[in-house]
Amino acid sequence: MSPVKPPLLDVRDLTMRFGGVTAIDGLSFTARGREITSIIGPNGAGKTTLFNCLTGFYLPTSGAVTLNHPERGALRLDGMPSHALARSARVLRTFQNIRLFPGMTVLENLVVAQHNELQRASACSIAGLLGLTRYTRAEDRAIHQAHALLRRFDLGHVADVPAGALAYGVQRRVEIARAMAAGPRLLCLDEPAAGLNPRESASLNDLLLSLISEEGIAVLLVEHDMSVVMKVSQHVVVLNYGRKIAEGTPDQVQNDPHVISAYLGEPVEPVEEPLAEEPSAEEPSAEEAAL
């Protein structure tokens, strides 16, 4: 929380163009460790594109993304392929439209997430084929960790159920648990509260807060549900048309005239406590109207 600490993630002048469309335009921001940084903005503001740039799915047109790794120093993330990025920089992500392995059980989903450690222990599958203790120990450890995560995410009872057979809200939790199983340093969540009912999104809040306080990871959150964003994040970055229009604490952002105009599509009028306490009902509908 102390501002002296160097930021975990440093995004500098990031630009992403698709042909003539500039999805992200000279964006700079930072995200600190043990904090939740939210990225908000109306539909089409470039939030998911930003996530794809940060996690190696897109190659940014220009700009730099740096992760300050405690052991390995500053790592340049732009230009790193997505799997290498997840493996060495430990930037893990979830997807807006859930991407689980639907035919595999929840437990298997969490064990697959630990592929790299297990693959190393299995020594090109040879130690695994021979059933050497070096591999069986690693597998036991992986399963143990998966069970611990399942208990923590309250998923123990569905461990043997194919992930695709679960209810939507549960699948969201499984996806976050699976990303956690891969041991993230920075966890990028793309709309984790989408499609959740108020009770589920309240429990998501608690979960996210406990993740950063207990696991010491940083979370980057793209979210439309303001009840989640405003309650859990320490830092909010607001995008519109690929540009950063505001940045600060949730309170600062809520009262920023640029943000209000971006969401409501109106010139700045005298502010009459616009998005104070329960903005969740108005917020998504307002931005949909803005489109």
């Binding site: 290498a84 997840a86 991407r99 639907p102 437990l107 693959q119 599958s125």
Partner: protein, 437 residues
């Protein structure tokens, strides 16, 4: 008192179960074992062998009973998995395991019962070649989800590798087997590399082309492959360096064993050889499936993008699937060349690829036992339909359509999880207990 009655009921259940197995064996055994044809003065006559059948039924009864007793004792010592999902999966698993065990027993007993019936042993050998090919392709199609229409190319590479190495350089079967497997695996990587970015239909088209390229090379590179005339007099596999041949100047297997030579020695040996190869393939694939690479194959089939997001190097995982699948196909090819003694590009046409793919799809992608069932259907149907002469392919097609209508996911489309919570939890806690102790 209640304990003894429960035990009595359990014993009764086991006896009943063994009785059902014996009855089934008897029923199936009537045409297979009970009746046989003999040559009587140039004409075929049907003879009965009821004594054999009775022995077989007795073996089935006793074996089943012993199996149940052994199996249940082991079950009781472990914790039963809890929850409805777990119990469903374990009962499905037990069924498949039993059926698999029975299939192995039948496969082992078959050459003993029919050693003098060359047609049956040969057909069974053909079935096993296709089973092995199916299991190999299952790695690529069933587990990794990569649609491969040119699998026969690897089969051809294996067969020609053996044929050329054996006829030109005189290498023995046992040396050529791993070499040809490695060769085929290399071709698998060569095919896999340019197709890494392709999926579904596009991948199918490229692999189809690859299969045709290999066949056309074999057909046209006359200096190396002898073109359409093929390669003949390929040496047969030997046992510990001894050939299966009539007594001559070399020491033969029959000579070494001090028994009288009979032509069936070699056919049965070939059968047992492919059986061993196929079973090894099966064990290998089943084991691989439960290793990280196997789970990564299945995960890649389910969602490639999610795999990348979790740090899995999809390129390597794909190439491993292509290489391993190709290697297994290559092994089958070596055996094929050694068994036939003659190969030509005619044996490696697209229709072979189609049949192997049909076996995997019909069996239920990813199911090992399903492949066996599907092979039996696909190989035996045309054989049984010989009396319908030209209509037999029609029959074959109708059967395929019928299966796809009633079982669109394949004969056995249930996926067994590679690990379950109950089992892994107890094993993990037992490990923890061992560590603390």
């Amino acid at each position: 008192m209640p304990a003894t009655t429960a035990r009595g009921a359990a014993l009764q259940g086991r006896l009943f179960d063994a009785g059902v197995a014996a009855l089934l064996t008897g029923f199936l055994g009537i045409p297979f074992v009970g009746l046989t044809t003999v040559d009587v003065g140039g004409r075929l006559a049907v003879q009965t062998r009821w004594d054999w059948l009775i022995v077989l039924v007795a073996i089935a009864f006793g074996g089943r009973l012993a199996f149940r007793l052994l199996f249940e004792r082991r079950e009781c010592s472990g914790l039963r998995p809890a929850g409805p999902h777990a119990s469903v999966s374990s009962s499905g698993l037990r069924w498949a395991r039993h059926a698999g065990a029975w299939a192995v027993v039948v496969a082992v007993v078959l050459p003993i019962a029919f050693h003098d019936n060359r047609y049956i042993v040969d057909t069974a050998t053909t079935i096993l070649i296709y089973v092995m090919l199916g299991w190999g392709l299952n790695v690529v199609v069933g587990l990794a989800g990569l649609l491969d229409l040119g699998y026969v190319a690897f089969y051809a590479v294996g067969a020609y590798s053996y044929a050329l190495l054996a006829t030109q350089f005189g290498f023995s079967f046992w040396i050529c087997l791993p070499v040809a497997g490695l060769f085929a695996a290399t071709f698998g990587v060569v095919l896999g590399y340019p197709t890494l970015r392709l999926r579904g239909d596009y991948l199918a088209i490229v692999t189809l082309g690859f299969g045709e390229i290999i066949r056309l090379i074999l057909l046209n590179w006359t200096e190396l492959t002898n073109g359409p005339n093929g390669i003949g007099s390929i040496p047969r596999p030997t046992l510990l360096g001894h050939a299966f041949a009539p007594p001559g100047d070399m020491i033969t297997v029959a000579g070494a064993l001090g028994i009288e030579y009979a032509p069936w020695h070699r056919t049965v040996f070939l059968y047992l050889l492919i059986l061993a190869l196929a079973l090894l393939t099966n064990l290998f694939v089943l084991r691989m499936r439960k290793l990280p690479i196997g789970r990564a194959w299945e995960a890649m089939r389910e969602d490639e993008i999610a795999c990348r997001a979790l740090g899995i190097n999809v390129t390597r995982v794909k190439l491993a699937a292509f290489a391993l699948g190709a290697m297994l196909g290559g092994f089958a090819g070596v055996f094929f060349a050694a068994r036939q003694g003659f190969i030509s590009p005619e044996s490696f046409t697209f229709s072979e690829s189609a049949v192997i793919l049909a076996i995997v799809v019909l069996g239920g992608s990813g199911s090992q036992f399903g492949v066996v069932l599907a092979t039996c259907i696909l190989v035996l149907l045309p054989e049984l339909g010989r009396q319908f002469s030209e209509y037999r392919m029609l029959l074959f097609g109708a059967a395929m359509v019928a299966i796809m209508v009633w079982k669109p996911g394949g004969l056995l489309s249930r996926r067994e999880p590679t690990l379950t919570a109950a089992r892994s939890d107890t094993s993990a806690s037992s490990v923890a207990a061992r560590r603390t102790a």
